[in-house]
């Protein structure tokens, strides 16, 4: 499974994505974010205000309690500034 990072989050991490294999007890997107933060101090710091981020599975924005079963591409999205 791929995790994508964008904008200043990508810059803070010095990479645009990770290839991950989460353990089977990781059920939801929120579980996944907690697991990713626990193993990466830079990500943990960058996400200290987690409510500002949106999350996506397979290129659709979904709530954090969505199960990750079937996910091939996940993204952590800082506040958007399009338009």
């Amino acid at each position: 499974m791929k995790v994508l990072y964008f904008a200043w989050l990508r810059e803070r991490l010095n990479r645009a994505s990770d290839e991950i294999t989460p353990p089977s007890e990781i059920v939801t997107l929120n579980d996944l974010v907690a697991w990713l933060r626990a193993r990466d101090e830079a990500l943990d710091l960058a996400m200290e205000n987690p409510a500002i981020f949106k999350l996506s599975i397979n290129a659709r924005i979904v709530p954090g309690d969505t199960p990750i079963a079937g996910a091939t591409e996940i993204a952590i999205l800082p506040p958007m500034t399009g338009g």
Partner: protein, 148 residues
């Protein structure tokens, strides 16, 4: 039509094309977002990062929601990314409706959702370097008015 691309586009030509495709419309509204440079704090460019697959999916969903909610005859969103200089057109939304209020409301709805749910991130390029544009709290407020 949803178009997400690095290529420039001609806003007037796009508007004329959409207008010509429908004869049952009485009202058309367009919104065009432009790269502006403030004389007191000039920028040399605006650099837009984009998650293209998500952008196409979310913009299509926002468009479908606006079409249904306001009874629009058609609606289109064009959004560029990459490096744009002052005066260039960043994006455009267009709505066609039988009457004017639906066309105005549809265009505002599209813009309010696009500001918070479309995966674009802007950086301003200045003489001092690059800086990320911060999201505005008022954009979230503007979107929330549609759920009241």
């Amino acid at each position: 039509m949803i178009l997400v691309s690095k290529s420039p586009f001609d806003p007037g030509a796009e508007a004329n094309r959409l207008q010509a495709a429908h004869t049952e419309a009485g009202a058309m509204v367009t919104f065009t977002g432009l790269v502006r440079s403030h004389p007191d704090d000039p920028i040399t460019a605006l650099i837009l990062e984009c998650y293209e697959d998500l952008a196409r999916n979310e913009l299509a969903a926002i468009r479908d929601a606006a079409m249904a909610r306001f009874g629009l005859i058609d609606a289109a969103i064009i959004h560029r990314h990459g490096r744009l200089v002052p005066g260039e057109t960043i994006m455009m939304v267009m709505t066609l409706a039988p009457h004017r209020q639906a066309a105005f409301d549809g265009a505002q709805f599209l813009m309010d959702y696009l500001k918070t749910d479309a995966p674009f991130w802007k950086q301003e390029e200045t003489a001092a370097g690059l800086r990320w544009v911060e999201a505005k709290a008022e954009d979230g407020d503007a979107k929330n008015r549609w759920s009241r």
